[in-house]
Symmetry: C2
Subunit: 347 residues, 2 copies
């Protein structure tokens, strides 16, 4: 493959002239410009970005570590990130941590070794040694979807607590009093925030919290199916369920199905995350729709800004609101509690 040197020789100029012509970084006479460009074309010259990176100490690459690209929620985030990165001349290296702190650390190491210009991370849990090290070195870093509580790192998040509160509130408004929650992995802040919102809604409505109605679905479909089954087998089973993410919702509905129960007549559901098919297939799902694509864009924006002008003001958090989408899965109780008599089942 051709190098600047080859181009320079062929054009009869110096390598610095070649470089400057190709990068338009200083004035070069029309004549030389032509000759350089022609020579480059003829040789099929393709600048070596690796060499360039070594010299200028920038790779125009960002790292992205999420738990699982297989999860449609992350998929949308990635698309948002990719779009702005691409637009700004950056390229994205993707890594899956599977919610495993060690895998996450391993990935951060590799990406850092590859000298990515910045990192977007959906942290799997607490701060590990290596993450702290990056933070100390104030390496450009942005958290997405969740944070590590005591690290001063900018983040892009959903207003989880508020959204969860709203969803549960909606169920309460429909007359439900025994509302179960299928919660996610306790190690991530999105889970704890959603749980807090659930509690808040119940408290505000004066409904005592029954801890036996809160189960962990581990943020996964299969685990949620089991957890939901347990909930349904309770002597006094909940009349409604709040499910804390997309994957778990599928498991929850499967469990309900398996027991021959119907949504929403036997069990109402409100859940986190929307699906593309959610209003086409039955039961259609009432949910908190997250602006996933925008969250991704925001994270990338934040990171690129940070890369451009590092170490400035205290880290900002971008917090976007969720949107409650009401569909059939959240129905009124069959035997509505007296309190809610005035609200219609479906507006």
């Amino acid at each position: 493959v051709a190098t600047v040197k080859d181009v320079a020789r062929r054009a009869g100029v110096s390598t610095s002239t070649v470089s400057h012509v190709l990068n338009e970084t200083r004035w070069v006479s029309e004549d030389l410009r032509r000759r350089v460009r022609d020579a480059a074309d003829e040789l099929g010259f393709e600048p070596n970005a690796v060499a360039r990176s070594l010299k200028i100490k920038r790779s125009f690459t960002i790292g992205l570590v999420i738990s699982d690209i297989g999860n449609p929620f992350f998929t949308a985030l990635v698309r948002g990130i990719e779009d702005v990165a691409q637009g700004e001349g950056y390229t994205v290296i993707l890594g899956n941590s599977d919610e495993d702190v060690d895998k996450e650390a391993a990935y951060l190491r590799v990406l850092s070794a590859k000298r990515v210009d910045g990192l977007i991370l959906a942290p799997a849990g607490e701060a590990h040694e290596y993450l702290r090290r990056l933070v100390m070195a104030d390496f450009p870093l942005v958290f997405l979807d969740r944070v590590v509580p005591d690290l001063p790192i900018p983040a892009v998040l959903l207003e989880n607590r508020e959204a969860a509160r709203e969803a549960v509130d909606h169920l309460i408004g429909l007359g439900h009093r025994r509302i179960g929650m299928v919660s996610g992995r306790p190690q991530i802040t999105s889970t704890t925030d959603r749980l807090a919102g659930y509690r808040l809604a119940l408290a505000d409505a004066g409904i005592p919290i029954d801890e036996s109605l809160v189960v962990s679905g581990g943020s996964r479909t299969d685990e949620a199916r089991l957890a939901t089954a347990a909930l349904l087998d309770l002597a006094d089973r909940p009349s409604a369920l709040f499910v804390a993410n997309n994957l778990m919702t599928i498991g929850a509905v499967a469990a309900i199905q398996e027991r021959g129960l119907a949504v929403p007549d036997d069990v109402a559901i409100a859940s986190f995350d929307d699906f593309a098919w959610a209003d086409v297939f039955r039961p259609t799902l009432t949910c908190i729709a997250q602006p996933t694509y925008e969250l991704g864009r925001a994270a990338a924006d934040l990171l690129l800004r940070r890369i451009g002008a590092p170490a400035t003001e205290p880290p900002e958090h971008v917090v976007l609101p969720g949107r409650l989408v009401i569909r059939e899965s959240s129905g009124a109780m069959r035997r509505p509690a007296v309190v809610a008599a005035s609200r219609p089942a479906r507006p």
Copy 2:
């Protein structure tokens, strides 16, 4: 940040010793090994992969250009690719072409400039100039999901024609005679192969092909919704539909829904691609399940093998079979044709 030189100075050895200790690439006395390791730790030394790449001419990075990571089909592929790449010490740069040949070319350029060691591509259409150039240079390349017909490049594909034939055959077996097809983008080979399978099945059953029953859904949900609507508005509408991918299936069902028709009673459906929720939500979908994760793995395997031992035998094609999953969306005709009278509506 520390460099080999710093480590060498600190350990009181030469840079080559440092390099060799860290890469375990030649025998070094126990004593020096200790000193080097300690010095590296104390300095928090992190080898610069960019410099390394420049020297050894390998980046341990592969490029992956697909049409849209937002499509769950690609998502699963990516996961498969990522897993084997990661396992072999490679990292993956992801790019979305949006089925646009120019965007695709632009990405290939960037990735090539970044000196990725190889490329996995789901080609958006015909061969463009730049793709030909890569092929001429026999750059390690693998096609995934589709091919560019006349390029001698290894590929990992589904047995599309056969799978489509089987799906349509299944509908025929249920008594359907007027079977519509919602087809994908005509530019990609997966589409043409599936279309061929549809034609084959009809021909084998002695059913004349009515071209007005074949519409293009452009591989997208919205376009498929429109195309399906047109099909349903036909004077003599089809009693069954074969839909050529996941995204379009959602659009097709939406169109049916909108007209107040029921699946499968009014219109039966068999489609390409399975969904995680396909047997939980109604109508449950009869489909050709693709081994997406395995396809991804196979592509990565093929590529990495190609990188290790370049330019060997003629390009091999790995072709995996689809699996027909029968659920409720493909039901017998309400007024079954005489021919099919012996088969039950739902096994």
